[in-house]
Subunit: 389 residues, 2 copies
Amino acid sequence: MLGNFTYANPTKLYFGENALDNLKAELAQVGPNVVLVYGGGSIKKNGIYEAVLGILRECGKRVAEISGVMPNPTIAKVREGIEIARAHEADFLLAVGGGSVCDYTKAVAASVHEEEDPWEKYFVRFEEPSKPVVPLGCVLTLAGTGSEMNGGSVITNAETKEKVGKVFADTSVFPRFAVLNPRFTMTLPHYQMVAGIYDIFNHICEQYFSGTDDSTSDYLSEGLMRSVIHSSRIANRDPQNYEARSNIMWSATWALNTLVACGKSTDWMVHMLGQGLGGVTNATHGMTLAAVSLPYYRHILPYGLAKFRRFAVNVWNVNPEGKTDEEIAKEGLAAMEAWMRELGLVMNITELGATPDMLEKLADVTIILKGGYKTLTRDEVIEIFKESL
Amino acid sequence: MLGNFTYANPTKLYFGENALDNLKAELAQVGPNVVLVYGGGSIKKNGIYEAVLGILRECGKRVAEISGVMPNPTIAKVREGIEIARAHEADFLLAVGGGSVCDYTKAVAASVHEEEDPWEKYFVRFEEPSKPVVPLGCVLTLAGTGSEMNGGSVITNAETKEKVGKVFADTSVFPRFAVLNPRFTMTLPHYQMVAGIYDIFNHICEQYFSGTDDSTSDYLSEGLMRSVIHSSRIANRDPQNYEARSNIMWSATWALNTLVACGKSTDWMVHMLGQGLGGVTNATHGMTLAAVSLPYYRHILPYGLAKFRRFAVNVWNVNPEGKTDEEIAKEGLAAMEAWMRELGLVMNITELGATPDMLEKLADVTIILKGGYKTLTRDEVIEIFKESL
C-alpha cells in the first residue's frame, strides 16, 4: 500500500434470500415520487417486478417507469430517462436489473438537475456532478458488473459507436443501498451467467495485473479469484446451487467497489478492448472481455512476468518446481484458458460478430490506457484483435 | 454465503503518508466543541499531538482533553470521560491513539446523552444507544484492533475484573473517518508492534475457524492472512519498512470491519480466553491472545479438522501429499507456531503474570461462546489455561 488514497463506500448491502424485506424501510426514508428503472421485461416474467411494485404501493409511492434499458445502454436512452425523471419530479430512482440498468440509473440520477447534456459532461470531459444528484437504490438481478456498490457508469454513444465508462467519485451517485438476493440471478440463461462470472474475474485481473509494489490488495484479489473459480465450477454444473451463486454474487460486489485497487495502480486494458468491441458489435460485455483476454495477457506477459508467475502459483496452484518463471507464468494462463473453456465462454471475437474488415474501426474506438505492464500502440491493439479473431 | 446479512460501513478511510491532510476538511463539517482523547502521552513525544492540535486550532475549535486512556480502558475512566464531554458540550470526539483509545471514545460517545450508566446498558445488557451519539473520528497510531472502522468497544470493569466487548450495530458509533498514516505506527516498541500484528491475525482466525459452509469470506480471510504473514516477517526484521507497515495497517482495518464475517458463523473464543486473562493480569491484549491460541487451536482441531487442513494448505503452503488430514492440519499449526516464535510473541500466560492459583478466577471471568468447532466446558477452559502456563 504505497500510495495515498481514500476509501469511502456508503452503499448498504442487504444480502440473502430475504434481502428484499429491507426495501420497505429504505423507501420510508425517501420522498413520494419514485422512478422504477428496468430492462427488457424479464423481471415481469420472474415475479420480481410485481414484488417490487407491491412494496412501492404499500409505501404509498407515486411510481413512474423507465423500461427497456438495453444491455449496452445508450446516451439517447439516458436523455429519454432524464425527461421522465424530470416530469415525475423524482425523489428517488429504483434500478431493478443487472449492471446495465444500474449504470444507466446513475447516469440519469446525476443528470436530472444538470443543464448540460450528460455525454459531453460525464463521458467526454469526465466531470463530477455540479448539481444535486437524485438518490438511487438497486435491486440486483444479475451478478457481474459490481455497479451495485460503486460509482461506475458505462454508456454507449450509438452514433459514434463509442462505449465509455465514467467512474463517479462523488458517493452520492453510488446506490444508497443494494438488495442482493442470489435467487434473483437464477433465472438467467447459462450464457448470461457465465458472461457475468467472467466479467467479475476480469475486474479482479484488471486491478491485479499492474504495479510491482507489494500490497494487501493483491492478496485480497487472489482470495476473491480463488473463490470465483471455485464457485463458478459448481454453478456451471449446477446453476441452481444457491451457495455457489451467492458466493459469485458477493464476489462480484467486492471485485469492483474499489477495495482491491486501494493503494495500487490498475490496468483496465481488457475492458478498453472489450468496450471497443462492444461498441462496434453490441455483444454481451462479459463475452467481449473473454474473447480478447488471453491474446492480451499473452502479449503483455513478458512485461509483467513476476506477476503472471505469482498468478499461476497463488491463484491456479501451478507447481513451480523445476520450471522457469516464463514456463510457470504460461502454465497459469493455460489453466485460466482451461477454466474459461470449461465454463463455455466465447473465446474469439469472430463468434461475437467481428470480421477482419472491422479491425481498423475497433482500433479507432479503443481507448489506450497506461496502467498495465505494457502501454499498447495502435498496431498492438490491432494485432491483439487480430489474434482474437 | 448462506446466511442473510447486512453490510453497512460508512467510515471513510484516509490512508497514506499524507492522510492527516484530510483532517481539516472533516473538522469543517462538525460543531465547534471538540474533545481530544488520547492515552499515556506518547503522541506528545512523536509530534502527532502538536500536529493534530495545530489543525484543531486552525479550524477554530474549542478543545477539551481526555488524556490517560489506559491500554485496557476502564469503565471508571469512561464515566470520567462522559463528564468531561458533557461539561464541554461536545460536538465531536477525536480519538488519537490505538484501538484502546478508539474503543474508549466510542463508549463515551454513546453515553454522553444517555441517562443510564454505560456498564449496565452496553456491557451487561448489550443494548444499542437510545439517545443521539456524539460523532467521533480517529487518528490511528497503532495497527491492530480494527476499531477504526467498526462498532467494537472493549471495556474493563476493574472492580469485577471483567473485560467485556460490546459490538455496536448502530453505525453512528463507528468513527466517521479514520486517518491511517503507517508512519504514525513506526515509533511503537517492537513488543507492541508484534502484539498488534498477532491481534490482527487472530481477528481473522476467529472469523475463519467456524462453520462448514463454503463462503467467499473464507477466501478473503486467507488472502488477508497471507498478506499479514508476509508483511509481518519484513516488519519484524525491519520495523521502518513503510510498505510492510502499510500493509499491516490496512490488513488490520479489513480484518475487523465485518467484511470477512459476512454470511458465516464466527468463533471468538481466543478473544474470550485472552480477555479473561487481560482482565486478571492487565497484560497487553495481543500477547494474551498469542499465549492462549495454540493450546486452544490444538484442543479444537479434531472438531474442525477440514478447516484446519484447509488453513495449513491455503495459508501456510503445507504440501498435503502423502499425509493424513490430521498430519496436514497439525503441520499448519506448527508453521503458525514457528512464525509466532519468529516474531517474538509471548507463548505462555506465565510470562504475562498468570500463576496456577489464578486458574479458577480465569475460568470465572471467561465468557464461553458457542460459535467455534467445539463449545468449551468450564473444565476445558481451565485445561487450556493450564496448558498455556
